[in-house]
């Protein structure tokens, strides 16, 4: 999911940086003091998820967990993700500094979708589980589509990479859907307050 330095055209980098900066600024304005620990914990969770690798044919992909983070944090997910991506870029070479904006956009905006799916009212237990599955599945799918589109917009030479990046994330979409479903069911039972804290 992380696009490395020196790959993308300046126009894409600038556009991503501008949109992400605005979103992070709005998120910082909305952020309350008492919400900061929760945002910090999910930033750490997002950071660690990148180290859990899933083999996908000739390559390997990693967990993202942007769906569940977005479901709980709402727009504040931009702050969580940008901090985690910054450190991944600086210390591990995952992504980069110039690509921070576009990477944040590709990961955090779909996470917001996770929040809106989470807020959909449902009638019964089965529908709730399906909803929770999609809280994990859809944001990752969208992130993979955004990533693929970003690469495709970069030029014809990246079309193959765009297709591979989309296809290789298909297993992650389903795994994340399942993990998110179980995680949200668990949180609902043991710590329901966390699902209602941020509005």
């Amino acid at each position: 999911m992380h696009i490395s330095e020196g790959v993308l055209k300046p126009e894409i980098l600038i556009a991503g940086a501008v949109v992400s900066t605005i979103a992070v600024a709005i998120a910082l304005k909305k952020l309350k003091n008492e919400e900061i620990p929760l945002v910090a914990v999910f930033s750490a969770l997002f950071f660690l998820a990148s180290f859990i690798h899933i083999p996908a044919g000739p390559t390997s992909v990693h967990l993202v967990l942007n769906g569940i983070i977005g479901a709980i944090l709402n727009i504040r997910v931009f702050i969580s993700i940008v901090v985690a991506l910054l450190l991944q870029g600086l210390l591990f070479g995952y992504g980069g500094i110039s690509t921070l904006g576009i990477n944040t956009f590709n990961l955090a905006l779909p996470a917001l979708i996770g929040y809106f799916i989470f807020k959909i009212p449902v009638k019964n237990d089965l529908m709730k589980k399906i909803k929770y599955f999609f809280v994990g599945f859809l944001p990752v799918s969208l992130s993979a589509i955004f990533l693929s589109t970003t690469l495709a917009l970069n030029g014809e030479a990246f079309l193959v990479a765009a297709k591979i990046s989309l296809l290789s994330h298909i297993p992650v979409m389903f795994i994340e859907g399942i993990i998110t479903m179980f995680a949200l069911i668990f949180l609902e039972k043991v710590y329901p307050k966390i699902l209602k804290e941020i509005k």
Partner: protein, 133 residues
Amino acid sequence: MKIITLLLICLSFLQAHKLYLMADDDGDKLYVKSYFTKSSMCQDCKVNIYDTNNKLLYTQNTDKKGRVTFPYTHKEVNIEVIASMGHKNQISYEGENEIKAEQKVEENESYTKILFSLLIIFSIFFLLKLVKK
């Protein structure tokens, strides 16, 4: 005919005194075994381990079972065994396994970086909390 038979018998004795040398590794240790025959181990024989530039890395004597263990720090080494009465053998050994010590150092460095990063994440949010106050 008698001379040929006698010569063959003498040759077989020479074979019996040939010094065999075997080596294996598990990524962590290099195992060396030396023997004359399957029932005659090379006991208390000197084993030298050299790197590819013939620099002596380790030296140790075999035990009663003709075995000796060394740290596995180089993938390609030359192993020399020197027994009594001038018996000697040497082989070039290339390990199949990656050196675990190097892998461990890389893993440890990775874990350290992860912990350091988590510390920085929480520090950033702690500073943000102070600013927001």
